[in-house]
């Protein structure tokens, strides 16, 4: 079943609550993102691609897993666009799909160490899976 780009774009707009038209293409989000170097689709491009409805491509990007949810982009964007909400919306679109978890409970034991707080596990599993 192939969901059209338009439908996906509508879903993103609805669940993120973001109005991408407010973006004035200033690039402050990308300027401030601490994960910029690790991402294949940078925050300013992410917003632009949502605006263009290029959702399938975004669903393949690694940005979804590299975003720290640190809200620096949200805080510093002069137009109140909230790029982090868009990344979260696309990420949810992916992990809500059947069998599409990025990380599962089975992956955790390998990553454990003595000091790892369960807060880390809880947050990672909340962000990366819908199990």
């Amino acid at each position: 079943m192939h969901t059209s780009e338009a439908q996906l774009a509508r879903t993103i707009r609805r669940i993120s609550g973001v109005d991408t038209k407010k973006c004035m293409k200033c690039g402050k989000c990308s300027g401030t993102c601490p994960s910029f170097a690790e991402m294949d689709t940078h925050p300013h491009r992410f917003v632009s691609m949502v605006e263009d409805g290029d959702i399938h491509a975004l669903m393949q990007s690694n940005t979804l897993w590299k975003c720290l949810s640190c809200f620096a982009c949200v805080e510093r964007c002069p137009r109140g666009v909230e790029p982090a909400r868009l990344v979260e919306a696309v990420r949810l679109l992916v992990i809500r799909g059947k069998g599409a978890n990025h990380m599962t409970a089975n992956d955790i034991p390998a990553l454990l160490d003595e000091a790892l707080p369960q807060q880390a596990i809880a947050s990672a599993l909340r962000k990366y899976s819908k199990a």
């Binding site: 669940i15 590299k66 620096a72 979260e88 955790i108 707080p117 807060q119």
Partner: protein
Amino acid sequence: MLRMDKMKYSYYPGCTLKTKAKDLDQYARKSAQALGVEMEELPDWQCCGAVYPMAEDEIATRLSAVRALDSAGRQGQPLLTLCSACHHVVKRVNNDMQTNADIRLRVNNYLELDTPYTGQADVLHYLEMLRDHVGFGELKRRVKKPLTGRKIAAYYGCLLLRPSAVMQFDNPENPTVIEDFIRALGAQPVEYSYRNECCGGYIVLEDAGLAAKMCGNILASAREKGADTVLTACPLCMYNLNKNSGGQVEVRYFTELLAQALDVDHE
């Protein structure tokens, strides 16, 4: 500043404070006692989820926070938090319940509480309680063992401060509350540029290298300004910073130093 001998709060510890971050919790309780502040742990709480669910249609993931808020609200007491992440989640969910009619309706439909929860409770972080209810002046008076000579860097991280429109904790780019706290304890606060940059958070499980890079920047920045200790309010920040400190600075919970200064950190 109010001198309230019987300041009472509904305390929400969060999962990690009962296990890996016991220190953060126990020092907080001892200090609260010494300051005449009553922390009444909520009788029935669940893990808040550790991250705030940003999507408008995520309802189930908001419920545990609302249950905690409702419990506090019914006691007529503010909800007190210690962990930055819990504070972030609960405060933002509370804001949703106050301002987003759709979320409010759907959450209440799920929970079927006797009285719908509409954001009646206040969410307070321990540091806000110290600043606004106890007062740093009063705190200073009660310090028995001032941490003189210590050069302490406050690490705010991201979750306490941002997004500032909702968190309203302090100026998000130029905060002063933890530095004021450090001063009240008798130590010298060290300001550095990376005190409000993310430590990486949960990314440590996905890309440990990225977390290492970020903590590296933070700690280098603090050290460059002469800090010997870095204070944090979050168990995950504590973990990430400690993992990457290379033994060069001590990373401590703010409550541990508070208890030290109030001389209640023994037994």
